[in-house]
Symmetry: C2
DNA sequence: GGAACGGTTGGGACCGTTCCCAGCCGTACC
DNA sequence: GGTACGGCTGGGAACGGTCCCAACCGTTCC
C-alpha cells in the first residue's frame, strides 16, 4: 500500500535506522490509515520473544487481594506495559505445588521476564529466578545479597517521618505496632521508629512495641496487647494502614479519643486511610510510581540481560489527616 | 527422534484421529524424554488463536482488590487454565479511557476470549463485547436481556436461607443491610429477604432496610442509620461479609451483644467471616467453583462460537458460626 | 570517465507449527 | 490376480513477520 517492500515496513516498525524520511512517512501514513497491527505470533516466532511479562504473586491469595498495595502495583505495571502492546500475564504461586508448576512454566519461555511481587523474606523463588537467569525484578528489597534489581520505599525514613511528626504534635511517649520481623519492611519500619526516638532522646524500649503481620486483624491483637500492659503512651506509629484501622477501632472500644488521648500515624496511604474514622495520618509510599519504575527496569533487563543491577529507593511522604 | 514426520507429531499433539497406536506411543515417549513443548508462537501463527484469555476487571481497582471475591475468582480461573497452557492475561478497565483502550486491544485479537468480572449493572462493556462477537462470559447475571453466558449464585435463595435460619433461632424482627440496587446481586438479596419474611408472615417494611455498597465502610453507615431509627430488631441479614464486619463493630460500640441482642448473618463466606469477632454466620457462595465453571464455559465458546448460551446458577449454602 | 563508497532498498531464507494433498500399503472384493 | 478402497503417513505450502545479503543509486574522488 505504501509502495515499499515488507523489509522497509519492518524497518519502520522497529525504528531501525537506514530508512529515508520519505519512505518512513509513507509507511507510517499507510499504517495509520489501515489500522494495521503487526502479528504478535509471527514476530515472536522469529524474535524468540513472547511479548508477555509475568506478574508473579507469591503470597496467599487472601492476603494479596485484601491489600490495596497490590491494586496499585497492578495499575502501575499495566500503565507501562499497555502502550507497548506487551501482555501482563497473571501468575499465582500460593503454595509449594503452585510454585513448582510456575517454575516449569517460566523455564519453558512462556514469558520474557518476571515482575515478582512478594514481601516474604523466606521466599525461595527470587533466588531460583536469578540462578535460572530469567530476567526478573523484585517489588521489595530481597533478604541477603542477591544480584537482582528491585524498587522499594525507604521504610526507615518513613518511620522517622511518622515519629518526627508525632513529636512535633507534642507527643513524648510513642508506641508502635510493628510488622513481621521476617520481612525487610517490618524490620526497617521498626528500626526507623527506634532510631528517630533515640535521636529525640525519647523512650523506645520493647515495652512500647507490639507485633502484627501487616494485615487486617493482627492490628487489633497488637493494640489490645499494648493497652493491656498498662504502659502509658500518647502517640502510636503503626507499620501499616490496615493494622492502624484495627488500632483505631480498639482505641475507640477502650474509650480513648484519637487524636486527643492517642495520636495515630499509619503507613502506606491506602484508600483505607481516608476512609478511617478519624481519617488517618499516614506515611505515603508512591506504590504506583514504584510499580512503573519496576516495570521499566524489567523491560531494560529484557532488552539487555547484562544491564547493571539497580535498586531504586523511593522517598516516603507524610500525609497529615485527622488522627494526629 | 521418534522416527516419524512432523505431520504425525502434530497429529499426536492435537489428538487428531488417524494415527496408529504404535506411532502415537512412539511420539509420546519421545516427547516425554525430551521435555518437548510446542512453540506457542508458531502454533498461533497458523491457527490464528493466541492461547490467551483475558481476565477483564471492570471496576475501580480499590474496590476489586479489597474484595476477596476477586481472589477466589482468579484462583478458580487459573486452576482451569494452567494445565492447558493457556495464559490468563490481566486487563483492567477502571474508567472510560481505560475501557476504550481495552476495547481496541480486544478487537485486535490479542486474546481468544474474555472472562468478564464485574458486578456493575450499568457497565456498557458486556453489550459491546456481544456486538463485536468476541467470545465472552460474565461472572454475574447481566442487566436486561443479553445473549451471553454467565454464572451466578442464587442470591434470592441465599437471602432466604439467612432469613430461615434467623427465624429458626427464634428471631421475629429481622432487619437487613442491603446492597446497591443498581446491581442484580443487590436487588436479589433484598428481594430474597422480603419474600422469605413474607412467607413467614413476619414484618419486612422499608423501616427495616438500610443500604450500603457491599464494600467495607458502607456497612457502618447503614448500621448507624438502622439503629438511629429506633425501630427494634433482633436479627440482621447483611448482603455482604464486608458490610457485616462493619455492622458487628458498630453493634459492639452500641453495647449490643451478638448474637444475644442481635443475631447477624452475612453473605459470601469470605475469609473475613472467620476472622470476625464473633465469627460470622454467613451464606456461602462457591466462588472458586463458579470461576471454574465460568472459565470452562468460555473455553467451550472459544472452541465453538455457536455454542448455546448457558447460564449456571449455583446454590448457596448457610454456614453457621458464632454470630447467630 | 571509471571506481569506490555509503545510504537505501528489495528479495528471499527462515522461524515451528498446521493442514491439505498425494502416496503408500494391506485388505477385501470381484 | 487385478482393482478399489481405506487407514496411515510424509511432503510441502502457508502463516506474517525479521534479518541477512545483494543490488541499486547518486556522489565523491582519483
Amino acid at each position: 500500500m505504501a509502495g515499499v517492500s515488507k523489509s522497509t515496513v519492518s524497518r519502520v516498525l522497529n525504528d531501525t535506522p537506514g530508512v529515508s524520511p520519505k519512505a518512513r512517512q509513507l509507511v507510517k501514513t499507510a499504517i495509520e490509515q489501515t489500522g494495521y497491527q503487526p502479528n504478535r505470533a509471527a514476530r515472536s516466532l522469529v524474535t524468540r520473544a513472547t511479548g508477555s511479562i509475568g506478574l508473579v504473586v507469591s503470597e496467599a491469595h487472601a492476603r494479596i487481594f485484601s491489600d490495596p498495595f497490590f491494586a496499585s502495583m497492578v495499575r502501575g505495571a499495566t500503565e507501562v506495559v499497555r502502550p507497548l502492546g506487551i501482555h501482563l500475564v497473571l501468575m499465582l504461586a500460593e503454595d509449594r505445588r503452585a510454585r513448582e508448576q510456575l517454575l516449569d512454566y517460566l523455564r519453558h519461555g512462556h514469558v520474557d521476564g518476571v515482575l515478582f511481587i512478594s514481601t516474604h523474606a523466606a521466599d525461595p523463588l527470587p533466588r531460583i529466578l536469578v540462578a535460572e537467569r530469567l530476567p526478573a525484578v523484585l517489588s521489595a528489597r530481597p533478604v541477603g545479597r542477591l544480584p537482582i534489581s528491585y524498587v522499594d520505599v525507604d521504610s526507615v525514613a518513613g518511620a522517622g517521618l511518622a515519629v518526627d511528626h508525632l513529636v512535633e504534635r507534642g507527643r513524648r511517649r510513642i508506641a508502635t505496632i510493628a510488622g513481621p520481623q521476617d520481612m525487610p519492611a517490618g524490620q526497617d519500619r521498626l528500626r526507623g521508629w527506634e532510631e528517630a526516638l533515640a535521636a529525640h532522646g525519647l523512650p523506645h524500649g520493647p515495652d512500647l512495641v507490639a507485633y502484627g503481620d501487616f494485615a487486617r486483624g493482627s492490628g487489633a491483637r497488637a493494640m489490645e496487647e499494648l493497652l493491656g500492659r498498662g504502659v502509658p503512651f500518647d502517640g502510636l506509629f503503626v507499620a501499616s494502614d490496615l493494622m492502624a484501622l484495627d488500632a483505631l477501632a480498639v482505641l475507640r472500644e477502650h474509650q480513648l479519643r484519637v487524636p486527643q488521648d492517642v495520636a495515630v500515624v499509619g503507613f502506606d496511604d491506602s484508600d483505607a486511610a481516608t476512609q478511617a474514622r478519624p481519617a488517618l495520618t499516614t506515611v505515603r509510599q508512591p506504590v504506583e510510581e514504584m510499580a512503573k519504575a519496576l516495570t521499566l527496569t524489567l523491560l531494560d533487563r529484557i532488552g539487555d540481560p547484562d544491564a547493571p543491577i539497580t535498586s531504586r529507593i523511593f522517598p516516603p511522604k507524610l500525609i497529615q489527616r485527622a488522627s494526629t
